[in-house]
Amino acid sequence: MSTLYLIPAFPLGGALFNLLLGRKMPRWMVHFVAVASVAASFGVVLWTFANPLWHLFAGRQEGQPVELVQNLYTWIQVGDLKIEMAFRLDTLSAVMCLIITGVGTLIHIYSTGYMAEEPRYAAYFGYLNLFTGSMLILVLGANLPVMFIGWEGVGVCSYLLIGFWFTNEAYATAGRKAFIVNRIGDFAFLIGMFLMYMATKDLGSTSLDFATFRDPAAQTAYTASSWFGERYAMWACLFLFIGACGKSAQIPLYVWLPDAMAGPTPVSALIHAATMVTAGVYMVARMSWVFAASSTTMAIVAGIGALTALTAAFMAFAQTDLKRVLAYSTVSQLGFMFVGVGTGNWTAAIFHLGTHAFFKAGLFLGAGSVMHAMSGSGDIMKMGGLRKRLPITHATFLIFCLAISGIFPFAGFFSKDEILAGAWGMSLPDVPRAYAYVLWGALSLAALGTAFYMWRLYFLVFHGEIRADQETQDHIHESPWSMTFPLIVLAVLATVAGVIGFPHLHAWHMPSLLHGLEIWLEPSVTGSMVSQATDLRTGALIGAATLMGVAGIVAAYVLYRHGPSKQVEQFTSTELGNRLYQASKHKLWVDEIYDSAFIRPFRWLARALFELVDRFLIDTVLVGGSAWVVSLFGRLMRWVQNGQVQRYMVGVILGAAAVFFLSGRAARPAIEWRKVGDRIELRAYAGAGLQGNGARLRWDLTGDGEWDLKPEALDRLSKPRKPGEPPHQIEPEKDYLSDPVIVRHNGSVGPYVRLEIIDPLTHKARVVQAYVPMVVSLSGTETQP
């Protein structure tokens, strides 16, 4: 439908307005545009959801997708690769869009109260809108590259917003950390995208469109064997999943999320609930056909999810910062979602994503409200007893805590239970049953931990005696309506949203609304891979899950209902207890391990490259070196070019002398010969100029090894000597044959002719020998020598 582009266009337009013009605008205008653009986007989603999409859904055929596609233009066309700038709203992305724009609107409203004192008001709302718009592009993208636009966009926005208060060095660092860790994941995402291209291009489909991934023909490509005998799907999905780990804060790339609380609290709510971290889960659900083609990847996804859920829950125990506890709980809950998608329990994962968005956004906004009251401090050890001072915040916070702990009838109960039941009932081909129990066990422990640390937080903040100093106490006040209103709405949602995902019980016939989400998502994801459960098993799992939640709450109540617990202090003073406490407090030293394993070697490398390439090669050798060479020549030339004509004259004269000398040298001796009639003409090349002319020549035309004599010398030699006359001396200058051109009868020359040239200056003699092949005898017969 032609209105799809409006969904991201509204927030992006708002961002454009606020970032370009916002500084000049009054505050009411800034936040009006920001809130209205997201709300308008929400309105478009609602309308599209209620009208065209609902009609399509109502009239759907089995196995047919329910989707609205809008193709804006062809974005990339290279060779046979053709990528459209296209948006797709199907049942899955519609759910996501509702969450993003709905929760996003509430967070925008909340921000108008929370950020009221902020000097960079317009920039904040601009980034917030950009964030929402990027996430909407990510969700609506009809193919992987368009999704990647949004994928990168949320990365940039998270950097901008986490480091929003960049004058604080630690906050700026947190922003950079988020960006860099995300980039690592994005790189893997790109590789995954390339692999998907490789996998599908043989099928004639090179658009990377999600619709082609669900094509039954594509399944054969996914399951085709690739490197190390694994399937294509395994490699592509593994890399895509690493990308998801970056965005959705899973081991090993989760480290940025706990630091992301450096940003303003509503930003944390946006990151943790509506945008960003849900991207990874969404992407896996979006690509469910591909992921489902490889049990190995599914097992890895589920395993990483379970491990993350458990580890993050453990790390949350000893944190004393309000937002940090919530951050670890997000990491942990995202682990639950990945177990959901990893066990092929797509609906449950998206369900938990939605309910989590409600209660986690609420928790963060509630935390913001608390910190607002506590003059900005987030240290839960300095809080306590806020129940009466902040009644609305307290009431909503209580609901969110109940929801996240999985207590009936709050939303978290249903979604978490679905995931736990799915983990128990996992039936992936080639994966042993025991793996399912391990997953379930890990998640149950994590659920127990979640309930415990959330209620520890709750009791420390709202119960017992207040532990803040007097000045802070005097300023405690309930937040304005712009902050409490979103809390109330989210609390209502966190209470009732669970009804669309009731557990399946064969004994009851339930109206379809109670499984609404599952029916709704059915056209957009591949079939659930969880085995059918008996009522008894379902009931037992529900009971176990509830028990975990209650146990956690009771434990927290016993230990923390009057504030910090003496029993816990006693426990942590023992050696084992202290070790556990330190491990949790220091987040298992993961940051330190990364620091020494990756960051420091990388810095050394960077340092070495800097010193070697930058400092030495470029600065010293290339820049300094070229300057040095130029100045060297300059100094030399300065000696010559001193302005005195006489010194220039030296150059002229030396040059002229050199020209004369070089051009006048005796040449390398050379003989040229040709036949002229019955004669042979031989020509010697002695060189040009004075020296060439002055060179002395000797010929040996007969090839007998003796230098030939001139006829008159021969005459003299042959004359009989008179008595008393001295024997005739042959004078080299006069008597040897020394003409440069010699003409002889054909038969009297050769076949080998030698020529000697003596340089007049150096008196060096050089000899050349030439072969004159055509020698005709005087009788006219030809002889070949």
């Binding site: 001193n642 302005g643 005195q644 004509v645 006489q646 004259m649 030296v650 004269i653």
Partner: protein, 106 residues
């Protein structure tokens, strides 16, 4: 001794011209007094003249002689201008040392 005097040939003239030319070059390059430099230039010009005349004689070609006359005329004109400049310089500076006549360099 008589022999040499009686057998003066083209080679002797050419050698004389070369020697004069070399002396002229040396004077131009080594002396710092502008007047002597100009005299050396004259020496070189006249060495060239001797060569030209010699070759003209060698080839029995009168063109060479007329060329020598043109060189003499040009040399006279050149020396007249040069001397005028030198006198002007000398009036200003009280010397004509080429090493010290370097104002235009800066």
């Amino acid at each position: 001794m008589n022999d040499i005097l009686l057998h003066v040939g083209f080679g002797h003239f050419l050698v004389l011209a070369a020697v004069l030319f070399a002396i002229g070059v040396a004077g131009v390059l080594l002396r710092r007094n502008a007047l002597i430099v100009m005299m050396s230039i004259e020496l070189m010009l006249n060495a060239a003249n001797i060569t030209i005349v010699t070759f003209a004689r060698m080839h029995h070609d009168l063109n060479g002689l007329s060329f020598a006359l043109i060189v003499i005329a040009v040399a006279a004109a050149e020396i007249a201008v040069g001397l005028a400049i030198l006198i002007a310089v000398f009036r200003g500076r009280r010397h004509v040392d080429v090493d010290r006549l370097n104002t235009l360099k800066y």
